[in-house]
Amino acid sequence: MENILEIKSLCKEYEGFKLDNVSFSIPYGYIMGLIGPNGAGKTTIIKSIMNLIRKTSGEITVFGQDHIQHEVEIKDRIGFVYDHPPFYDHLSLEKMKSIIAPFYTNWDEVLFRRYISEFELPLKKKIETLSRGMRMKYALTIALSHHAELIIMDEPTSGLDPVFRRELLEILSGLIQDERKSILFSTHITSDLERIADFITYIHKGKLIFSCPKDDVMDLWGVVKGPNNWLDQDKQTLFTTVKKGEYGFEALTSDAKSIRREFRDEVIVEKATLEDIMYFTSKGGENDKQ
């Protein structure tokens, strides 16, 4: 499978934070969800791809080209949406568009007008008067109006109402019908990804926990529940994280199939949601192997 984005051994160090040897890739035509709790390193990865911050080491290639050597050509083909899109707020939407459009080779005015009308955005109003949702819709309109092949979005759904969140997810699903387009979408609202993502990359405390097809995540990871006395020293090693309570334990495993096969009659094995995985790994536990 040909990749639209490849990240190899990406490292970035700040004071008090380290993005440690992160590698993953997105094939053409798919949606990748980048998940992790706040401060996990999602924005650092995205800003490194966009060369807004300088990576300490590692390789990033987009459309098969180095992201720094071919920065301008690459960004011409990327649609980028920030969590808090920074615009000149004193300008109207129309004037801001007239500032941005000349930078893109494939700017499509008809497409821009179509999204403006679809999202019911007031072109003559100043950006500072827009609500968070409308601002995000405007950022999305800009990102989609130059036929970008890779859409990168940093927390686009946070703070949005459920109606627009659903609408946004439908738009994104529609976009990848063109099999040359891909989307990288960071979020901590995991239910959004369960709806549309093909691949999931999970980052925790700057480290890659996994990057694989979403269906594999659902098949492999599980939440195991049982009595505390079942959990001896040997069995604890089977789990990524264990939480003991008064009435029993809950544990996260990345090998749900084996546990189900071997201990079917002794414990309950449930499918782990993305939220379960995030919750267990970020809260840690008695047997936290992260």
């Binding site: 800003k47 966009m50 060369n51 807004l52 911050i53 300088r54 920065e71 301008v72 050509e73 690459i74 960004k75 011409d76 980028f80 920030y82 899109p85 920074p86 615009f87 000149y88 707020d89 004193h90 300008l91 004037k95 500032i99 941005i100 000349p102 930078f103 893109y104 080779t105």
Partner: protein
């Protein structure tokens, strides 16, 4: 590849120049723009100082709008090189100063035709040249500081800093002239040396700004 890079560069330079020129204008009301133009047109020789002040307002307003709305991370996400963003900031400032000087000189010549009691342009040429060079030097000192400390100042501090630099250069020159007026003013090539010095300062300044901006981590 060279052709495609050149076309990207030219297009981005034009797009950035358009942005840098329009952003401060969009903060003004149309009546303010008309008032500036009329004052410059009808104030004769004194309009030169005013036109420099307007150029200064436009330069600082453009930069302080970038700071106010923290747009650098947005600009750098566009298909444009950081070095082009830096160069355009200089080019915009140079063109604004040059534009206002040219505009004032022309309006002065026209006024002179209508009202011959106004001093001829040649008699104020040196004054015009030195004020012009002071503005260029102020740009050369201010911009590297701006690119080094992006995101750390609010817009009023930025505008104040620029005005302070212009005034400081004036004060230093006056002090210098008080002590060395005889030797300096007799030097026939003084305007040439000052011009060469200004060009050198701006070249070093551009290099430093590029260096600082390239190293900026745009985390906001």
């Amino acid at each position: 590849m060279i052709n495609s890079n050149t076309s990207y560069h030219t297009r981005n330079l034009a797009a950035l120049l358009k942005k840098d020129f329009l952003i401060p204008l969009y903060t003004m009301k149309p009546v303010q723009v008309v008032a500036f133009v009329l004052i410059i047109l009808f104030m004769g020789s004194t309009s030169f100082t005013l036109s420099m002040a307007v150029a200064l307002v436009l330069i600082t307003t453009g930069i302080s709008m970038d700071e106010k709305y923290k747009v650098d991370s947005f600009l750098c996400s566009l298909p444009v090189k950081r070095s082009t963003i830096v160069f355009t900031k200089y080019l915009n400032a140079w063109l604004l100063i040059l534009g206002f000087v040219s505009f004032t000189v022309i309006s002065h010549m026209v006024t002179n035709l209508v009202n011959p009691s106004e001093p001829e342009f040649i008699s104020i040429f040196e004054g015009v040249l030195y004020s012009f060079l002071i503005m260029f030097n102020a740009v050369g000192i201010f911009l590297p500081a701006h690119f080094k400390f992006i995101g750390n100042f609010n817009k009023s501090v930025l505008s104040f800093a620029f005005v302070f630099i212009v005034v400081a250069i004036f004060v230093v020159l006056i002090i210098f002239l008080i002590f060395y007026s005889e030797t300096i003013l007799d030097e026939p090539l003084l305007p040439v040396w000052c011009t060469i010095g200004t060009i050198l300062l701006n070249a070093i300044s551009l290099f430093l700004s590029n260096y600082f901006y390239k190293k900026q981590e745009l985390t906001i």
